[in-house]
Symmetry: D2
């Protein structure tokens, strides 16, 4: 499995910023691989919709995410970073989470510092204490069977705390053995990245930065950002495509009218790996029809 982890580490080690593919299921991950994305990210929000048709509330559990990752890595040779929420419980739960996600073949695991609220719709549930989060990150680092798995300290502190506390948290997280820092909720734009860089030399992953930051590749690279995530546009595009085509047919629309919106035969055969299977058959089965 480790070539996927080595590829992930190469992305972090590089001095430029790489765009991640935001995928949501095995098929989209496999397509991202065909397009030679080096990193795929499975976010909690679209993971929950694709498997549970549920909003981003506390409904999914560790096993939902593990199973989803396992189904993805089974068919897509991708370096997968997965949103493991708060680790699904306390530090002891984090240990199980890391072991199971690792066995499912992921390359990197995000553990976040948000309080998981007992109720949905709580706007700012706040952050767990630094001490608790540090314990969870240390547990995650120690739980790895493969030392090349990357533990990513994900923090919402930029949206929840004064900058001083943000930087204290980041320094504490960086001392746990976590090897990347993920920033969500950047509210100050460039200033956030400039400040964070004072506190840590860890490679940064940023989710949905403001458009002016997002499009400034040199700035991102110069401020330690190694992985850029753009939310989940691919999921929203897929939903619309499925909805529109099913609606068209339901309303009596002609099948032919969908022709141009469908993948070509070549693309479909790339997606189902026809060549690879036929090659296997020729190689290993006597008397294969040619």
């Amino acid at each position: 499995m480790s070539h996927v982890r080595e590829r992930f580490r190469r992305v972090l080690a590089r001095s430029t910023c790489t765009l991640a593919a935001n995928i949501f299921d095995p098929l989209s991950a496999h397509i991202a691989h065909l397009l030679e994305y080096e990193v795929c990210v499975l976010s909690g929000s679209v993971g929950k919709v694709a498997t549970l048709a549920a909003p981003d509330v506390v409904l999914s559990n560790m096993s939902d995410v593990v199973e989803h990752c396992r189904r993805i890595t089974r068919i897509a040779d991708v370096s997968l970073m997965v949103d493991a929420e708060d680790g699904f419980g306390n530090a002891v739960n984090v240990i199980r989470t890391v072991k199971e996600l690792e066995a499912a073949g992921v390359a990197a695991i995000e553990i976040e510092d948000n309080v998981v609220p007992r109720q949905f719709g709580v706007a700012h549930p706040g952050l767990v204490s630094t001490a608790e989060q540090v314990g969870k990150l240390r547990a995650a680092v120690a739980a790895r069977t493969d030392p090349t798995t990357v533990i990513v300290a994900r923090t919402s502190a930029l949206a929840e705390c004064p900058l001083e506390e943000v930087l204290e948290r980041i320094r504490a997280y960086a001392a746990t053995g976590a090897e990347a820092l993920m920033l969500v909720g950047m509210t100050r734009g460039r200033a956030d990245l400039e400040a964070v860089q004072q506190a840590t030399s860890l490679p940064l992953c940023v989710l949905n930065p403001p458009a002016d930051v997002r499009n400034d590749a040199p700035f991102l690279a110069a401020h330690g950002v190694r992985l850029l995530m753009l939310g989940n546009p691919t999921f929203a595009v897929a939903v619309k495509a499925i909805y529109d085509s099913l609606k068209h047919l339901k309303e009596g629309g002609a099948l032919e009218a969908l022709h141009d919106r469908q993948a070509s035969r070549d693309l479909l055969q790339a997606v189902n790996r026809t060549d690879e299977f036929m090659q296997q058959q020729r190689e290993y089965m006597p008397h294969t029809p040619s």
Copy 2:
């Protein structure tokens, strides 16, 4: 579970032909449900691509299909007809297949009469003997725990046999307790349906009939066709949408340019059932923030 089986039976019992949604995963099934399709069909070919990235060869097994169905019925309240291939083995295997698919909540199970070839790329592997297929269909019928589950005798005989033998097979299949007949490989168009109707009064399901037949709803209805399947255009549309959007971003395209191709916020909230979960919270959790 039985309301989904009752709905499936209502479609078969009606004197008109109903269009099925060809779905390929939980998400597409859930969207079909939002669009009020009465029947969803999971075909083997797209099932294999979505879960295994494999062509329609003998690579998937019973448990792959059962798991896929379970994940679909868990979130989508659909009447699901599933392609159970040859039942995944002999008549004893068929019994396990039916019991597990039933437990996974499907409404109808197709068992086909093709020989499953030992090698891929075999163009016409032929049909199993009528005696063997009859045994398998009888086993399937007897294996049901819920008598409202529908066993569908799927036959490729129209593409493989002289019409005389086709009709003999259909009569034999109809005597097993199977409650619908599925026709694939219609090569004679209208003549096929006219002949089949001489041999059986079972409701018919037809896959990919020629365009002139497909579009003649009164003819289909008059000749016993109760369920029409149009291949897998939705899958091909989804693949293209995912591929194109990931390619656009990979090549440096602007995120904004995807805006019009994405599902609206309303559609996304319908898909993730926001209202349903918020209503559950208000109903059952004291002190829910309003």
Copy 3:
């Protein structure tokens, strides 16, 4: 599936007390069925050891339990009552839990009123508020797809509260639509049952009552106890048998010396259902060797 739920309800409706089989995996459930136990109970503690080798701490999640139940009901035609802990979260999580356990074929679902502690080894974490527990039980009752599934209100109140509060809680739980009450931590022996009976006419399930109460069948029956659970002796017996036989062989002991401790050929064939499969083959496969 509903014959297993009807059998469970017959046990509750009877005027006598029935002994449940405490099972821990598919094999032990199947053996209990061969012995004609009417009810099998899967407790959280042995479930966790059998699947996760973990103590009875908050390590397992909903999907662990659902998968375990599904594997049990797949092979054992038992009326299964399952310990669903606190429902695995808030009332909205309870809804998912009930739907998934129902789809897994269980007959009855226990929802308990303990606080789930953030840390292990907390001796008396206390009980959730009555209002919260009532919401969860109401959600569980409403979430059922099959109205014959039984929701069991499990309470540790006897071990945690003054008797007055115990009875108030029981009255509140009984008004939710839960159809049985499960008592754990009976500390006052007969007095507990006498008091509870004042508060509710729901059928009672009791776990590990004191020996003098446990062995007094007329008393149990007269005080509404319909289901008696004796902890998990079968699990402990199985662990010792496995351990001792593996140790014997590891230390060079003779295979022959294990002979008398092994199941007979007849019992093994009952357990693997040889007759049933051979009968299926004769019935549905032409030309079966006799």
Copy 4:
């Protein structure tokens, strides 16, 4: 994962014969690990009973076995050798089988040369052609992601062929890259091992040899046998223990009478890893109660 594969290879590389633990589920594997068995073997026959309550007929599929292995390796840090039957289909299926079993963490995979009969109860279905089996073994070797995974060529040739053909098959299998040879159906006792050793220097695994051979450790070691399997006594012991204790209670026997047959508290706490979890909590959770 690779420490389990290295341990398996150490056993093969040693000049003595090691006894394998025949385990049947996660619990028995975990107990074998506590007893410091170096290798655990999951045979097809008991695997099918434990998960499917089915005889050793062609009812289980690849996913059944993969899931069983995954559940075992999740909790038991064992070097697992698994009976992968005929690889579950042709050479292309073998590729999927090896990839999924490897992802499930097994150390060694047996691929056998029996024809899988279409019907049950076929006494001597014979062997597949040498060319086909060689193709399957070559495919298995090439399919590995981790080169330390061991492919074991399992053969029933000793029970099915003249010795000359046996040796030809063994030579052909040994040339595929398979790294161990497993012999079942030894009918000639010592003579079989003496002959096989002429044909190959691969380490041998033998199942159920005659008692006089089984107990002659120096002979086994001198003839290349590195792994000895004694059938499934532990499974049969567990079945009897479960059956007897459930029967005792069902017939009104006293709970106390089972006392001496139950695992001690210490053994139960070793099985549920109490110390390990408590240690994790102390290490990673602030303010853990001491």
